[in-house]
Subunit: 229 residues, 2 copies
């Protein structure tokens, strides 16, 4: 009887914190904790979701397949984030796929506990709404970046974003390690173009690498580049 939602710290980061003791107890009783290996899918685009997934550990990419066969990564979800809530709320199949970028631990929460609480606890609903409003703003920002910034600017911004949102290890390397292809899919460019820019940044001393690991070496330069200087 360990791993109760009531004691789970990641809950502080998401809408579940607005649930009452009873509601949380119900969710905790119905949830299923799963271990997901790096590269494994949590759910697929077009799938009907019978619940949401709360990330306890690790990072997942949320992506959408485009007509030309490329994956566009729309969001990266880490500790505390809830995946699949949009689909559950809209009662639609998922518009995104979720694949683990590192080994993960996620809790599957059947939708009933969520949907009932939505209809009975306005505090919870408003909290969910706030989170979704936040996601929507982020999505708007991504749209503007995609259309108005160069690939080089977007790559620079991606590294800054990863550093800010997922942190760095003790040696200053980004905590999330993405393949070059994944970085390209976040940025929305060809893998080769992405690699070329990474090489350039490294040569100029903006970033440092060690194997797959990448670290921001000159934040100011990267930031200037993003701003268009």
């Amino acid at each position: 009887m360990k791993n109760r939602c009531e004691n789970c710290i990641v809950r502080q980061f998401n809408a579940l914190r607005a649930m009452s003791k009873e509601e949380l107890k119900r969710v905790s009783d119905s949830k299923i904790t799963k271990s997901i290996k790096k590269g494994q899918a949590i759910f697929e685009e077009g799938e009907k979701l019978n619940g949401v997934f709360c990330v306890r550990e690790g990072v997942s990419k949320l992506s959408k397949l485009s007509a030309n066969g490329k994956d566009q990564i729309v969001k990266l979800a880490s500790k505390g984030e809830v995946m699949g809530q949009r689909s559950v709320i809209a009662e639609e199949t998922s518009n995104l796929s979720a694949v683990a970028v590192s080994d993960m631990e996620v809790c599957f929460i059947p939708k009933e506990g969520i949907v009932d609480t939505l209809h009975n606890n306005p505090n919870f609903t408003v909290e969910v709404l706030r989170h979704m409003a936040h996601d929507l703003r982020e999505a708007d920002d991504v749209i503007v970046n995609m259309s108005q910034k160069s690939v080089k600017q977007r790559v620079a911004e991606a590294f800054l974003y990863l550093g800010e949102n997922f942190g760095e290890d003790s040696e200053g390397f980004l905590s999330v390690t993405l393949s070059r292809e994944d970085i390209a899919n976040v940025v929305g460019t060809a893998t080769e173009s992405c690699i070329r820019i990474i090489s350039e940044f490294k040569k100029k001393g903006y970033i440092k690498t060690s194997g797959k690991k990448i670290g921001v070496a000159n934040e100011k330069k990267l930031r200037d580049l993003v701003e268009g200087f």
Copy 2:
């Protein structure tokens, strides 16, 4: 005492339909109806909104200024759509500007009536949530289109989108008339590139024009182009 929300048909298209009679009465008593001339701003990016705007008539563009001085149009809002709710809910300044692209009539609804209802009427809150979930999905789709489709495909898609969502007049021209610059800002491209593509589509008979007005002439061809054939 005409123009009561209770009798307003556009309410059917948005979350206000989930309000109770009393809640609606309060909103109706506090709302202010405004006429907005084409080109006039309804609110600006960075502005603190003290309420939401419900569109009764006309079309507004919701856009965000990018660092390089270009406007990216993120969404077009017409009859029944509520603007500014994201900011009111998140209690943040607006991330978008709203400017009328045709003469408009909008109702300003002070946030108190909305926020109180959000905390007291779960049906309303869930309805708002559903609408936001829908917007978020659309935003995800836009992100993928931006990064994976060519400018030509995006222009074609824009015309199809405008036809589907805002309709056509009796002669088959799109009901929303946007300047070439606005179309370019929807698509996220340079105005010249946009004009060039419009010329090409016209030459090929995919679209027809009459002054500023544009009409879809060969839907199938446009659709094939979007799909990558």
